[in-house]
Protein backbone atom coordinates (compact mmCIF):
# COMPACT_ATOMS: atom_id res chain seq x y z
CA UNK A 1 0.00 0.00 0.00
CA UNK A 2 2.69 2.45 1.10
CA UNK A 3 4.75 1.28 -1.85
CA UNK A 4 2.13 2.08 -4.46
CA UNK A 5 1.67 5.62 -3.09
CA UNK A 6 5.35 6.29 -3.38
CA UNK A 7 5.26 5.22 -6.98
CA UNK A 8 3.18 8.27 -7.79
CA UNK A 9 6.42 10.22 -7.59
CA UNK A 10 9.31 8.84 -9.57
CA UNK A 11 12.08 7.01 -7.73
CA UNK A 12 15.52 8.54 -7.16
CA UNK A 13 18.92 6.89 -7.15
CA UNK A 14 20.66 8.83 -4.36
CA UNK A 15 19.18 11.49 -2.15
CA UNK A 16 16.45 12.17 0.38
CA UNK A 17 12.74 11.56 0.36
CA UNK A 18 10.70 13.66 2.77
CA UNK A 19 7.32 12.11 3.36
CA UNK A 20 4.27 12.93 5.49
CA UNK A 21 4.34 16.65 4.89
CA UNK A 22 0.90 18.25 5.38
CA UNK A 23 -0.23 19.12 1.84
CA UNK A 24 -0.89 22.77 2.63
CA UNK A 25 2.66 23.19 3.95
CA UNK A 26 4.55 21.70 1.00
CA UNK A 27 5.77 25.03 -0.31
CA UNK A 28 6.70 26.22 3.18
CA UNK A 29 8.93 23.17 3.57
CA UNK A 30 10.52 23.85 0.19
CA UNK A 31 11.13 27.43 1.20
CA UNK A 32 12.51 26.65 4.69
CA UNK A 33 14.97 24.12 3.32
CA UNK A 34 15.92 26.49 0.52
CA UNK A 35 15.05 23.86 -2.09
CA UNK A 36 13.86 26.60 -4.39
CA UNK A 37 17.42 27.91 -4.54
CA UNK A 38 19.41 24.78 -5.32
CA UNK A 39 20.16 23.04 -8.58
CA UNK A 40 19.53 19.45 -7.42
CA UNK A 41 16.89 17.50 -9.24
CA UNK A 42 13.70 17.84 -7.28
CA UNK A 43 10.33 16.16 -7.64
CA UNK A 44 7.33 16.51 -5.44
CA UNK A 45 3.80 15.21 -5.21
CA UNK A 46 1.03 17.00 -3.47
CA UNK A 47 -2.45 16.08 -2.23
CA UNK A 48 -1.67 12.40 -1.99
CA UNK A 49 -4.02 10.50 0.29
CA UNK A 50 -2.71 9.79 3.75
CA UNK A 51 -4.39 7.96 6.59
CA UNK A 52 -2.58 10.18 9.09
CA UNK A 53 -2.77 13.61 7.54
CA UNK A 54 -5.74 13.54 5.17
CA UNK A 55 -3.75 15.02 2.33
CA UNK A 56 -0.02 14.83 2.36
CA UNK A 57 2.87 15.88 0.22
CA UNK A 58 6.13 14.20 -0.58
CA UNK A 59 9.44 15.65 -1.80
CA UNK A 60 12.30 13.79 -3.42
CA UNK A 61 15.64 15.52 -3.76
CA UNK A 62 18.46 13.90 -5.67
CA UNK A 63 21.99 13.97 -4.27
CA UNK A 64 20.99 15.95 -1.21
CA UNK A 65 21.52 14.84 2.39
CA UNK A 66 20.48 17.02 5.32
CA UNK A 67 22.11 17.70 8.65
CA UNK A 68 19.74 17.10 11.59
CA UNK A 69 19.83 20.78 12.57
CA UNK A 70 18.83 21.67 9.04
CA UNK A 71 15.97 19.22 8.86
CA UNK A 72 14.64 20.09 12.30
CA UNK A 73 13.82 23.53 10.96
CA UNK A 74 10.79 22.08 9.19
CA UNK A 75 9.38 20.85 12.50
CA UNK A 76 7.25 23.99 12.71
CA UNK A 77 5.31 23.17 9.56
CA UNK A 78 5.76 19.40 9.23
CA UNK A 79 6.29 17.89 12.67
CA UNK A 80 5.37 14.39 11.48
CA UNK A 81 7.63 14.39 8.45
CA UNK A 82 9.70 11.28 7.85
CA UNK A 83 12.94 11.15 5.92
CA UNK A 84 14.21 8.28 3.88
CA UNK A 85 17.85 8.45 2.94
CA UNK A 86 18.32 6.75 -0.41
CA UNK A 87 21.53 5.25 -1.76
CA UNK A 88 21.43 3.36 -5.02
CA UNK A 89 17.61 3.20 -5.05
CA UNK A 90 17.51 1.67 -1.56
CA UNK A 91 16.44 3.20 1.74
CA UNK A 92 19.57 3.02 3.88
CA UNK A 93 18.34 5.16 6.79
CA UNK A 94 15.10 6.59 8.15
CA UNK A 95 14.89 9.77 10.18
CA UNK A 96 12.14 11.67 11.94
CA UNK A 97 11.93 15.38 12.62
CA UNK A 98 12.63 16.59 16.15
CA UNK A 99 11.16 19.83 17.36
CA UNK A 100 14.08 21.97 18.56
CA UNK A 101 13.86 23.82 21.90
CA UNK A 102 14.88 27.06 20.26
CA UNK A 103 13.99 28.37 16.82
CA UNK A 104 16.33 30.88 15.25
CA UNK A 105 15.06 32.70 12.20
CA UNK A 106 12.41 30.87 10.13
CA UNK A 107 9.34 32.33 11.86
CA UNK A 108 8.16 35.90 12.22
CA UNK A 109 7.12 37.30 15.62
CA UNK A 110 3.39 38.05 15.68
CA UNK A 111 3.88 41.33 17.57
CA UNK A 112 4.11 44.31 15.19
CA UNK A 113 5.76 46.32 18.00
CA UNK A 114 8.51 43.73 18.42
CA UNK A 115 12.07 44.85 17.72
CA UNK A 116 12.45 41.95 15.25
CA UNK A 117 9.74 43.54 13.09
CA UNK A 118 11.29 46.99 13.34
CA UNK A 119 15.03 46.45 12.99
CA UNK A 120 17.18 44.05 11.04
CA UNK A 121 17.34 41.34 13.73
CA UNK A 122 17.10 37.57 13.37
CA UNK A 123 14.10 36.26 15.30
CA UNK A 124 14.65 33.91 18.23
CA UNK A 125 12.01 31.85 19.97
CA UNK A 126 11.78 29.41 22.80
CA UNK A 127 9.52 26.50 21.80
CA UNK A 128 6.89 26.17 24.53
CA UNK A 129 4.88 23.51 22.75
CA UNK A 130 6.36 21.75 19.74
CA UNK A 131 3.33 19.75 18.70
CA UNK A 132 0.98 22.68 18.66
CA UNK A 133 3.56 25.30 17.59
CA UNK A 134 3.69 27.71 20.50
CA UNK A 135 6.68 30.02 20.27
CA UNK A 136 7.75 32.60 22.83
CA UNK A 137 9.72 35.48 21.36
CA UNK A 138 12.99 35.93 23.25
CA UNK A 139 12.88 39.67 22.53
CA UNK A 140 9.35 40.94 23.18
CA UNK A 141 8.20 37.83 25.13
CA UNK A 142 4.93 37.58 23.16
CA UNK A 143 3.57 34.21 22.06
CA UNK A 144 3.28 33.29 18.39
CA UNK A 145 1.02 30.29 17.86
CA UNK A 146 0.07 28.12 14.91
CA UNK A 147 -2.69 30.43 13.72
CA UNK A 148 -0.29 33.36 13.56
CA UNK A 149 2.71 31.52 12.20
CA UNK A 150 4.37 33.30 9.30
CA UNK A 151 7.48 31.77 7.79
CA UNK A 152 10.25 34.17 6.78
CA UNK A 153 11.84 33.97 3.29
Amino acid sequence: MEQSKELKVSAIKDGTVIDHIPANNLFRVISILGLDKIDNHLTFGNNLDSKKLGHKAIIKISDKFFEDTEINKIALVAPQAKLNIIKDYKVIEKKVVNVPTEIIGIAKCVNPKCITNNENVTTKFKVLDGNDVTLKCLYCEKITDKDNLVIIK
Binding site: I115, T116, V121, Y139, C140, E141
Partner: protein, 301 residues
Amino acid sequence: MKNRSLVSIEDYTKDEILQILDRAAEFEKKPIQTILNGYVIASLFFEPSTRTRLSFESAVNKLGGRIIGFSDSGSSSVKKGESLNDTILTVANYSDLIVMRHPIEGAAKLASEVSPVPVVNAGDGANQHPTQTLLDMYSILKTQGTLENLNIFLVGDLKYGRTVHSLLMAMSHFNTTFNFISPEELKMPDEYKLYLDNLGLKYYEHTDFTKYIAEADIVYMTRVQRERFSDPMEYEKVKNVYVLRNSMLENTKSNMKVLHPLPRVNEIHQDVDTNEKAYYFQQALNGVYTRQAIIATILGL
Protein backbone atom coordinates in the same frame (compact mmCIF):
# COMPACT_ATOMS: atom_id res chain seq x y z
CA MET B 1 25.15 40.59 38.94
CA LYS B 2 28.29 42.53 38.16
CA ASN B 3 28.46 43.55 34.50
CA ARG B 4 25.15 41.82 33.81
CA SER B 5 22.43 43.72 31.99
CA LEU B 6 19.02 44.10 33.63
CA VAL B 7 16.45 43.63 30.88
CA SER B 8 13.62 41.79 32.60
CA ILE B 9 12.75 41.33 36.28
CA GLU B 10 13.10 37.61 35.62
CA ASP B 11 16.83 38.17 35.10
CA TYR B 12 17.11 38.32 38.90
CA THR B 13 16.59 35.46 41.33
CA LYS B 14 14.87 35.95 44.67
CA ASP B 15 18.28 36.36 46.38
CA GLU B 16 19.43 38.88 43.82
CA ILE B 17 16.25 40.90 44.26
CA LEU B 18 16.81 40.95 48.02
CA GLN B 19 20.42 41.97 47.51
CA ILE B 20 19.30 45.01 45.47
CA LEU B 21 16.72 45.95 48.10
CA ASP B 22 19.33 45.72 50.88
CA ARG B 23 21.60 47.96 48.94
CA ALA B 24 18.74 50.42 48.30
CA ALA B 25 18.24 50.68 52.06
CA GLU B 26 21.94 51.59 52.42
CA PHE B 27 21.59 54.33 49.83
CA GLU B 28 18.50 55.64 51.55
CA LYS B 29 20.61 56.11 54.70
CA LYS B 30 23.38 57.77 52.71
CA PRO B 31 22.11 58.90 49.29
CA ILE B 32 24.97 61.30 48.58
CA GLN B 33 28.24 59.54 47.84
CA THR B 34 31.15 59.76 45.44
CA ILE B 35 31.35 56.14 44.27
CA LEU B 36 30.46 57.04 40.68
CA ASN B 37 33.23 59.62 40.41
CA GLY B 38 34.81 59.29 36.99
CA TYR B 39 32.02 57.08 35.65
CA VAL B 40 29.91 58.05 32.66
CA ILE B 41 26.36 56.71 32.45
CA ALA B 42 24.54 56.96 29.12
CA SER B 43 20.86 57.78 29.38
CA LEU B 44 19.19 56.97 26.04
CA PHE B 45 15.51 57.85 25.97
CA PHE B 46 14.15 56.96 22.54
CA GLU B 47 10.77 58.12 23.79
CA PRO B 48 10.21 60.76 26.44
CA SER B 49 9.58 59.60 29.99
CA THR B 50 10.50 62.54 32.14
CA ARG B 51 9.78 60.89 35.47
CA THR B 52 11.88 57.80 34.87
CA ARG B 53 14.70 59.78 33.29
CA LEU B 54 14.90 62.28 36.14
CA SER B 55 14.89 59.49 38.67
CA PHE B 56 17.85 57.77 37.00
CA GLU B 57 19.70 61.03 36.49
CA SER B 58 19.16 62.04 40.08
CA ALA B 59 20.42 58.62 41.23
CA VAL B 60 23.61 58.99 39.16
CA ASN B 61 24.23 62.63 40.06
CA LYS B 62 23.92 61.99 43.78
CA LEU B 63 26.66 59.38 43.49
CA GLY B 64 29.00 61.72 41.62
CA GLY B 65 28.58 60.17 38.16
CA ARG B 66 28.23 61.98 34.84
CA ILE B 67 25.35 61.56 32.41
CA ILE B 68 25.43 61.71 28.62
CA GLY B 69 22.61 60.94 26.23
CA PHE B 70 19.33 62.23 24.89
CA SER B 71 15.82 62.58 26.23
CA ASP B 72 13.91 62.14 23.01
CA SER B 73 14.98 60.37 19.81
CA GLY B 74 13.77 63.35 17.76
CA SER B 75 17.00 65.19 18.46
CA SER B 76 19.39 62.31 17.86
CA SER B 77 20.97 60.35 15.06
CA VAL B 78 18.13 57.83 15.43
CA LYS B 79 15.95 60.25 13.57
CA LYS B 80 18.40 60.07 10.70
CA GLY B 81 17.72 56.34 10.47
CA GLU B 82 20.60 54.88 12.46
CA SER B 83 19.98 51.31 13.60
CA LEU B 84 19.73 50.52 17.31
CA ASN B 85 22.75 48.27 16.88
CA ASP B 86 24.89 51.17 15.65
CA THR B 87 23.63 53.63 18.27
CA ILE B 88 24.41 51.20 21.09
CA LEU B 89 27.86 50.28 19.78
CA THR B 90 28.74 53.95 19.43
CA VAL B 91 27.42 55.04 22.81
CA ALA B 92 29.09 52.08 24.55
CA ASN B 93 32.42 53.59 23.51
CA TYR B 94 31.68 56.64 25.62
CA SER B 95 30.05 55.13 28.69
CA ASP B 96 30.32 52.53 31.44
CA LEU B 97 26.64 51.62 31.55
CA ILE B 98 23.64 52.37 29.35
CA VAL B 99 20.19 53.18 30.69
CA MET B 100 17.70 52.83 27.86
CA ARG B 101 14.04 53.59 27.31
CA HIS B 102 12.60 52.52 23.96
CA PRO B 103 9.07 52.34 22.51
CA ILE B 104 9.72 49.02 20.74
CA GLU B 105 9.33 45.75 22.66
CA GLY B 106 12.48 43.68 22.92
CA ALA B 107 14.72 46.68 22.17
CA ALA B 108 16.47 46.38 25.55
CA LYS B 109 17.17 42.69 24.99
CA LEU B 110 18.71 43.43 21.61
CA ALA B 111 20.77 46.28 23.08
CA SER B 112 22.06 43.98 25.83
CA GLU B 113 23.15 41.45 23.20
CA VAL B 114 25.15 43.91 21.13
CA SER B 115 26.46 46.17 23.89
CA PRO B 116 29.90 45.60 25.41
CA VAL B 117 28.79 47.52 28.52
CA PRO B 118 25.79 46.52 30.68
CA VAL B 119 22.34 47.82 29.75
CA VAL B 120 19.58 48.72 32.20
CA ASN B 121 16.11 48.59 30.69
CA ALA B 122 14.13 51.68 31.65
CA GLY B 123 11.07 50.40 29.79
CA ASP B 124 10.69 48.75 26.36
CA GLY B 125 7.21 49.46 25.01
CA ALA B 126 4.56 47.49 26.85
CA ASN B 127 7.05 44.76 27.72
CA GLN B 128 9.35 45.19 30.74
CA HIS B 129 10.29 47.91 33.21
CA PRO B 130 12.29 46.05 35.86
CA THR B 131 13.55 49.07 37.81
CA GLN B 132 9.92 50.06 38.43
CA THR B 133 9.26 46.59 39.82
CA LEU B 134 12.28 46.77 42.11
CA LEU B 135 11.28 50.17 43.46
CA ASP B 136 7.74 48.87 44.02
CA MET B 137 9.21 45.98 45.99
CA TYR B 138 11.46 48.28 47.96
CA SER B 139 8.39 50.34 48.86
CA ILE B 140 6.51 47.22 49.93
CA LEU B 141 9.44 45.96 52.01
CA LYS B 142 9.98 49.31 53.63
CA THR B 143 6.35 49.82 54.61
CA GLN B 144 5.57 46.24 55.61
CA GLY B 145 8.89 45.22 57.12
CA THR B 146 8.79 42.02 55.05
CA LEU B 147 7.91 40.75 51.60
CA GLU B 148 6.65 37.39 52.85
CA ASN B 149 2.99 36.33 53.12
CA LEU B 150 1.43 39.65 52.13
CA ASN B 151 -2.00 40.25 50.64
CA ILE B 152 -1.67 42.46 47.57
CA PHE B 153 -4.59 44.03 45.72
CA LEU B 154 -3.89 44.94 42.10
CA VAL B 155 -6.48 47.38 40.76
CA GLY B 156 -7.37 48.76 37.32
CA ASP B 157 -5.95 47.65 34.00
CA LEU B 158 -4.62 44.20 34.75
CA LYS B 159 -4.63 43.09 31.12
CA TYR B 160 -2.18 45.55 29.57
CA GLY B 161 -0.51 46.89 32.70
CA ARG B 162 3.09 45.75 32.49
CA THR B 163 3.89 47.02 35.99
CA VAL B 164 1.32 44.71 37.57
CA HIS B 165 2.52 41.72 35.54
CA SER B 166 6.15 42.21 36.53
CA LEU B 167 5.20 42.87 40.15
CA LEU B 168 3.13 39.69 40.20
CA MET B 169 6.02 37.64 38.80
CA ALA B 170 8.52 39.08 41.26
CA MET B 171 6.26 38.89 44.33
CA SER B 172 5.42 35.28 43.54
CA HIS B 173 8.76 34.39 45.22
CA PHE B 174 7.31 35.52 48.55
CA ASN B 175 4.13 33.49 49.11
CA THR B 176 1.93 36.44 48.22
CA THR B 177 -1.87 36.27 48.10
CA PHE B 178 -3.26 38.35 45.23
CA ASN B 179 -6.60 40.04 44.76
CA PHE B 180 -7.34 41.31 41.27
CA ILE B 181 -9.85 44.13 40.83
CA SER B 182 -10.57 45.05 37.22
CA PRO B 183 -13.32 45.44 34.65
CA GLU B 184 -14.19 42.26 32.75
CA GLU B 185 -12.40 43.53 29.63
CA LEU B 186 -9.15 44.20 31.48
CA LYS B 187 -8.86 41.06 33.59
CA MET B 188 -5.54 39.52 34.53
CA PRO B 189 -4.50 37.33 31.54
CA ASP B 190 -4.75 33.57 31.97
CA GLU B 191 -1.02 33.03 31.56
CA TYR B 192 -0.37 34.85 34.86
CA LYS B 193 -3.14 33.02 36.68
CA LEU B 194 -1.75 29.74 35.39
CA TYR B 195 1.67 30.81 36.63
CA LEU B 196 0.26 31.36 40.14
CA ASP B 197 -1.69 28.08 39.95
CA ASN B 198 1.53 26.22 39.22
CA LEU B 199 3.17 27.79 42.25
CA GLY B 200 0.15 27.00 44.42
CA LEU B 201 -0.41 30.69 45.23
CA LYS B 202 -3.88 32.01 46.02
CA TYR B 203 -5.60 34.71 44.02
CA TYR B 204 -9.13 36.11 43.87
CA GLU B 205 -10.83 38.11 41.14
CA HIS B 206 -13.35 40.91 41.64
CA THR B 207 -14.96 43.41 39.30
CA ASP B 208 -15.22 46.18 41.91
CA PHE B 209 -13.78 47.15 45.28
CA THR B 210 -15.02 44.71 47.85
CA LYS B 211 -15.22 44.51 51.61
CA TYR B 212 -12.15 42.27 51.35
CA ILE B 213 -10.04 45.40 50.91
CA ALA B 214 -10.01 45.34 54.73
CA GLU B 215 -7.56 42.44 54.41
CA ALA B 216 -5.17 44.25 52.07
CA ASP B 217 -1.57 45.01 53.01
CA ILE B 218 -0.93 46.79 49.72
CA VAL B 219 -3.39 48.33 47.28
CA TYR B 220 -1.59 48.85 43.97
CA MET B 221 -3.57 51.19 41.72
CA THR B 222 -3.19 51.54 37.92
CA ARG B 223 -4.92 53.63 35.32
CA VAL B 224 -7.91 52.39 33.34
CA GLN B 225 -7.44 53.99 29.93
CA ARG B 226 -10.27 54.75 27.53
CA GLU B 227 -8.31 53.53 24.50
CA ARG B 228 -8.13 50.00 25.94
CA PHE B 229 -11.85 49.46 25.44
CA SER B 230 -13.25 48.20 22.16
CA ASP B 231 -16.63 49.64 23.16
CA PRO B 232 -16.51 53.24 24.46
CA MET B 233 -19.81 52.64 26.29
CA GLU B 234 -18.07 49.98 28.33
CA TYR B 235 -15.48 52.53 29.43
CA GLU B 236 -18.15 55.04 30.43
CA LYS B 237 -19.82 52.35 32.53
CA VAL B 238 -16.72 51.36 34.46
CA LYS B 239 -14.58 54.49 34.58
CA ASN B 240 -15.73 55.54 38.02
CA VAL B 241 -15.74 52.06 39.50
CA TYR B 242 -11.96 51.94 39.79
CA VAL B 243 -11.42 55.26 41.52
CA LEU B 244 -10.06 55.03 45.04
CA ARG B 245 -11.52 57.51 47.53
CA ASN B 246 -10.48 58.33 51.05
CA SER B 247 -13.76 57.03 52.51
CA MET B 248 -12.96 53.57 51.12
CA LEU B 249 -9.86 53.35 53.31
CA GLU B 250 -11.79 53.62 56.56
CA ASN B 251 -11.75 49.98 57.65
CA THR B 252 -8.43 49.01 56.12
CA LYS B 253 -5.47 47.62 58.07
CA SER B 254 -3.21 50.09 59.85
CA ASN B 255 -0.15 48.89 57.91
CA MET B 256 -1.94 49.15 54.56
CA LYS B 257 -0.37 51.39 51.92
CA VAL B 258 -1.65 52.64 48.57
CA LEU B 259 0.88 52.47 45.74
CA HIS B 260 0.72 53.78 42.18
CA PRO B 261 3.44 53.82 39.49
CA LEU B 262 2.49 57.43 38.56
CA PRO B 263 1.52 59.53 36.74
CA ARG B 264 -1.97 59.34 38.13
CA VAL B 265 -4.92 60.81 36.30
CA ASN B 266 -8.08 60.40 38.34
CA GLU B 267 -7.94 56.81 39.61
CA ILE B 268 -6.90 57.99 43.07
CA HIS B 269 -9.04 60.83 44.32
CA GLN B 270 -7.03 63.76 45.67
CA ASP B 271 -8.70 63.35 49.04
CA VAL B 272 -6.57 60.22 49.52
CA ASP B 273 -3.33 62.21 49.29
CA THR B 274 -3.39 63.43 52.89
CA ASN B 275 -4.20 59.98 54.26
CA GLU B 276 -1.10 58.46 55.85
CA LYS B 277 -1.86 55.30 53.87
CA ALA B 278 -1.15 57.15 50.61
CA TYR B 279 2.38 56.20 49.73
CA TYR B 280 2.77 56.94 45.98
CA PHE B 281 4.97 60.02 46.28
CA GLN B 282 7.40 58.36 48.71
CA GLN B 283 7.31 55.40 46.32
CA ALA B 284 8.70 57.65 43.59
CA LEU B 285 11.47 58.83 45.92
CA ASN B 286 12.32 55.20 46.66
CA GLY B 287 12.98 54.90 42.95
CA VAL B 288 16.12 56.99 43.32
CA TYR B 289 17.61 54.72 46.02
CA THR B 290 16.63 51.60 44.12
CA ARG B 291 18.24 52.87 40.92
CA GLN B 292 21.38 53.82 42.84
CA ALA B 293 21.46 50.25 44.14
CA ILE B 294 20.97 48.76 40.67
CA ILE B 295 23.67 50.87 39.00
CA ALA B 296 26.19 50.41 41.83
CA THR B 297 25.62 46.67 41.93
CA ILE B 298 25.97 46.23 38.16
CA LEU B 299 29.15 48.31 38.11
CA GLY B 300 30.51 46.19 40.95
CA LEU B 301 30.90 49.19 43.26
